[in-house]
Each structure stands twice: as C-alpha cells, then as structure tokens.
Symmetry: C2
Subunit: 413 residues, 2 copies
C-alpha cells in the first residue's frame, strides 16, 4: 500500500522554509504501515497542484496534502480539488459557526469573507474538524487514492493527522507496524551498526540510524499481522538493542534528552550538580536547564570564560593558572572542586579547553578539552581532543562531560 505526501507553498519552492511537515508525515505514515514512495512539493499554483494531485491519485492508495487552506488569495486547495472532481464548492454551516466562535474568542466579532471561505469544501467531501486552529481539513477520493487535506501549520497538521487521518486509514488492509526510538550516546555510528549485526534478521525488524551530533538514534521498526504483534516484536528487538549496547550508551526512549535522563537519575537519588564551564560557555548549563524540573537537581554554575573569573568565583589559584595554563588537568580539578564546594553540590563538573577556531598551539591544539568531575570522595580527570568546528567541539565536550556524571550514577564511575 503506497502513500504520497504533497506539500504546497511558494515559500517552500523558493527555499524560504525547510519542509519539516513532509518528513513528519512520511515518518507517521511509515509507522502506520504504508510504503511512502514520493514526497512532492509545488508552489501556490492552480495548474501545478491540479496536475500533481491527478498524477498521485493514479499511483497511490493514500495521499496527505498540506497547505493552501488559509484565508489568503494564494490558498487554493479546496477550489482545485472541487475542479478536479467536477463538483461545486459548498459552504459548510457547521464549520462556519466554529470559525465564527473561534474568531469571537479572540475579539473579532465579524467573520470576513476571507475567513468564511475556509468553510468552503468540494461537495461530498468528509470534513475534518480542526480543534487546534481556524482552518478545517477535508478528505475525498481522488482516482484510486484516499486523499486528505490538512493545514500547513505544523502543530495543527500533526494533531489533525493523529485525531482525524489515522482513524480513517485504520481499516485499510496493510501490514501493521510499531516503532521504538532508542536514544544513544557514546559509540560511533559504525560501531553501533556493527554490534547490532544480525539483529534485524533474528527479530524480523528494520533498524534505522539517525545521527544528531553527538547522539545516534536507533529506530526499531517492526511489522506484524496485528498492531499487538508488531508492538511485541518491536519491544523484543528494542530490549536486545538495550542489552547489547548497555545502559550507559542507551539512555532512554522516545523524546527524552541526554540531559533530561541525567536530571531524572540525579532526582531519583536526591543528588545535585554544579558546573564550571570555560570553553563550553554555558552550553552544558543550558542543556540541563532546558529540562523542566531541573531545578530539583541542578544548583547552577559558573561560566568562567576569563581567567580572572576562574580565580575570583571558583577560587582557582592564580599560581596554578600561571604554571599550567587555563587548559590543563590541574585547572580543571580546581574548577570542579571550586564549583562543588562553592555551590554545595554532590557533583562538581568542569570543562576547560580550546573550542577554536583560534587559540590552538602544537602542544594544546584546537579541540583539546580537559574535564574534571569532583564527587564526594574522589575527583576524576579526563582529556580529549575533539574534531570539528567550534560548535561541534563544544557540543561533543558537553556530552562527554555529562557522561562522566551519568557513569558515576549508573555504574559507579
């Protein structure tokens, strides 16, 4: 059962906006069990939309189309579909009432014709109510395809797909699928791949890898005759992935972040973290505080960019800075112990290095970072040279630093 996605909008064909909707829909349709074979994008142009819909209607069982349902003159979708089907547009009174009520709530008493037009649908269409925005969607049969038309606003599009489209395609005969996304950090993609060799065949699943520096997401996609069978198969395969890669590497499933998993671990144990960042410049603190509820486990930190700050706020001895330089294991230790004691935290974690592009030397190249983790009984140091540009060095460094805390919590260091 093949499916296609059609995105309309001149902002897309001019390259003004990245088409994340199409990717989201392709993933959602694939997970539901369809083989998505084409993603098409055309501008706000009647002839192009019409020609493309006609073609896709011949080739696919399901089409999901986004965009062109707004109030402006370049919102053309309903009219094009009506023309293609050879039926008139008809105004739906129930939809008009909903639009009127919605506009009244935001203080607009009169429904302009441009908004009223959003209640016009091809005669015979199934109207898809939009509880998340103004423009309702609709569904029609086009050629051999069941075609769905959704608004282009991403939050409305995704909510309507789950609530309105998924139930309508549910009866279609197809292989059922279940997907589990495992979040990993700590192994390169090639090694994750190698360690999981043979798992696809053993479990009858497909593994997908998505690298998002420096993480690797492992996507387990399992087919089944029923949804339950697909879910069971996905779970068994995901459990083997977890067992093979280990809990230090697989830090969670779904939408959890690396920092989020760390905050959860710290909260579970009633422990706290303090940071001292030089080259990472606040990125570690930012990723940790992005987690709602992080204040239960994260006390704060110092962004010690200038050496005077390392001395004044963290109590790093200026003689140490003079003797070893700011980028050294000795200074990393003083920073970690300094922030741990100043903030009264269980763990003090420090970063000092050279993110580039300038400031490197033969002895201390760009990408060199020293880390220290001050724990209650011991302070541990690590040093690494990271490849890549400034942003990549900073990002890789933050993950490595946070992984020292994770290891200390998961397997005692």
């Amino acid at each position: 059962m093949t499916a296609a996605v059609l995105s309309t909008g001149t902002e897309l064909t001019r390259g003004e906006l990245v088409n994340t909707n199409a990717t989201w829909l392709a993933d959602a349709l694939t997970t539901l069990g369809f083989d998505v074979t084409e993603l098409a994008t055309v501008g706000d142009d009647t002839a192009a939309i019409r020609r493309t819909l006609e073609r896709l209607g011949h080739e696919h069982a399901v089409i999901v189309c986004t965009g062109g349902l707004g109030p402006t003159t370049d919102d053309l979708t309903s009219a094009v579909v009506a023309e293609l089907l050879g039926v008139p547009l008809e105004r739906d009174q129930a939809s008009l009432e909903t639009i009127r009520a919605r506009l009244a709530r935001i203080g607009r008493g009169v429904v302009a014709e441009s908004n009223a037009k959003q209640a016009d649908f091809p005669r015979g269409a199934t109207i898809l109510a939009n509880d998340w925005g103004t423009a309702p969607g609709f569904a029609v049969r086009l050629g051999r395809a069941l075609a769905f038309f959704l608004p282009g606003v991403p939050s409305e599009m995704s909510a309507m797909f789950h609530a309105r489209v998924a139930p309508l395609v549910e009866p279609l005969e197809r292989t059922r699928r279940h997907q589990i996304r495992l979040r990993t950090y700590g192994l390169p993609e090639s090694e994750v791949n190698d360690r999981l060799t043979g798992l696809e065949t053993r479990h009858g699943v497909t593994l997908g890898y998505r690298a998002s520096l420096p993480e690797i997401e492992v996507k387990v996609l399992a087919p089944g005759a029923t949804a339950e069978e697909a879910a069971r198969r996905a779970r068994a395969a995901a459990d083997e992935v977890r067992a093979t890669l280990g809990d230090t590497v697989v830090y969670g499933e779904g939408d959890v972040t690396y920092a989020g998993a760390l905050v959860a671990l710290l909260r579970e144990r009633g422990q706290t973290l303090a940071l001292a960042e030089s080259c990472t410049g606040g990125l570690a603190a930012e990723l940790v505080t992005r987690v709602p509820g992080s204040s239960q486990a994260f006390l704060g930190g110092v962004v010690a960019y200038a050496n005077t700050v390392k001395a004044r706020l963290l109590g790093v001895d200026p003689a140490l800075l003079a003797a070893h330089g700011a980028v050294s294991a000795e200074v990393a230790v003083a920073m970690a112990e300094g922030t741990r004691s100043a903030l009264g935290a269980t763990f003090g974690l420090s970063f000092t290095g050279i993110a580039g592009p300038d400031g490197g030397s033969a002895e201390k190249p760009v990408g060199l970072v020293h880390f220290a983790l001050a724990a209650p009984t011991v302070t541990k140091t690590v040093q690494r040279v990271f490849p890549g540009a400034r942003d990549q060095v900073r990002r890789r460094a933050v993950y490595l630093g946070l992984s020292l805390v994770r290891r200390a919590l998961v397997d005692g260091g």
Copy 2:
C-alpha cells in the same frame, strides 16, 4: 525559466531525515534567477527515479538532482540516467585516479569495486569533479532540461553547486537576481510588514519574511537585466529597509547572529559584559560564547539557579530574597550589580523569572522575567511577561536582555 529539484533516498521518503538539501538548492536556484516550481523526492527505486526524471525533463529548463552517487547497492543514479538516455555506462579513468588518490590519503590502498563504480558515468556526460568528497557528479541533457547530478552530503552538494553548476547555467538566458538578507529583532512580523508597505513597488523588489523566534529575517530579492543592476536595486531597497526599521532593530546582514553583532559592538568600544542568569539557565552565555572571538568582550557569568548560588556567588543579600522573592526587580538589580562587580565588567546583565511549566502564581505568572542592566553610572530594570512554552520564554528573555545592552551601545540606552 523553470527549475526543479529531485532528491533521492529512502531515508527521506521514510521520514528519517529532513530534506534540507532541497531547500538549500531551491534558495540557490531562485537567487540565480530561476523559477523553482517543483521539489520532488523519491526513494532509492530505479523505476521511480527514472519516471520522475523523464517527467521533469519535459517540464523544466534545469534539474538538480542529489543523492544516489555513493558506493552502495542502493546508489542507482548513474545507471538510471544511462538507461534513460539509451547509452552505456563508461568508467572515467581520471575520476578513478582521483578516487584512488583520495582513498590512499586516508590509508586505504586498494580501491574496492564499490568505490570504482563511482567513476562510472553515462557516455557523453560532463563530469563534475568533486574536490570535497569521493563521488564526482555529472551533467547531461534530459529532454529539454540541463540536468545536474550531485552527491547528497550537504557540504559537498553546496560546494559543488557553487563551483560546478552555477558556471554552467550562467549562460542561460534569464532575469538576473540579487538577494540581501537583513536580520532584525524587536518588532513583531506584522509590524515589520506594515512599516515596509509600498517598498516592493517603489523598488521593484520582492520582500520575504522568515520568523525564527524571536527574530524576523527580511529577504530582499531584486531582479535586473544584469547582475550589477540587480545588486544595485537590492542595495537601494535594503538601505530603505534599514532606514525605516532603524539600527536598533536591523542588527546585521547575512549570517551574522544577534549575539555576534553585540560582541562586535562591545569589541569596537573595548567594553566587556558579565552575566547573571537564573531562569535562562546559561542560554545567554551560550549564545554569546558561540561567537568566535567572544572572549575579547565576554568575561563570563553565573548560572544562579538555586537561591543559595545567588547569595554565595553574586552576593545577593538573603534578606532581599526573603523580602521580595527571587523573581523581583530588587533581586535582578542585586544580581546584575553583583556579577558586574565580581567579574570587573563594563556591563552586568541579569535575568530572573519563571520559565515554566510549573512555579507560576497569580501574582507572578509563568513567563514573568525581571531584567537588570548594571552600567558604569546607572542600573536599569525591565520586566516582561512572555507567552509560550518554557523554551520560548527562555529564548525571548535572552534576546530582550541582550537588546538592553545593544540599546545602551547603539543609542545610549
């Protein structure tokens, strides 16, 4: 002159990867003066690639295709194009030598057949050398279109487009275009739009708006009979945009960031900044230190998430915290003055607020943020309630805070 972009790859049609290549190419082709009317994406499937290329070859003057030039078995593009043209694949010895030399440099002495196949092209194709990776590209005439085939790796794709594709399409007759991107912060999109009413007609240009919370990018696209005329027209229109919106709002052009423009201003004047962040959790420091060379102007900061940190590192009087609460103008002032004096900076900027989702009250709702800017002679305070989720509140707050410094530098506050 219409153009189309074709992206191939099952990772795209399955929704595993957002197609940023297509957007990049659409923007680049639009800027070169082509009307891009379709972006097509199909999986690694011979029949689908062939059918789509055949169709696009009838409809367009230029096609740019990415993907399918790699060494693996699902890299099919050269073979499909040869079949479509009815010509054999031929191995290009010069390309093979380049691939051999490249692999030797990374320590691989023998060229595997999978890599050698990357030197196979349809007979008669113009080979496009790849100085940025392994797989060369090629160009052929397909129907009425000039069709270019590039690797899918984004950095190789963009480098090859500029160096190999742009010169070959240069002679094609078309309207010339020039684009200037103006970066703005401080006005809502609707107001930017309203203030620029009439400018398009007066200058004969197109304005595009791209919101990237909380910034608005204004893209000026100017046509001309020659490249020079297009550039002159774009410059005149961009200058009027700058004059209309003002220098506080228009902070730069092209790829500069808001923090980057601020760092440049501070460096010009030999002034320095210190931060004290509570609810923003290091995001302000992170954006500032992302700028190469920021250490010349940014001394550091304190992420004072817990109240004890505000007291211990910034010298905020615990009595003040008890009397007014951490989220108050009084504490914001103490934090800003505390970080300015502890770090010895020209400016001390503080943020204290409630980013949510929890922690709000009737008196102090989620989204409330107090700011203070401690300058050499005066400390200024501002308070705002920002809409949106946690991430949006934090991002809006950081920009507003940095804008206080920008205003102090640009127009004396």
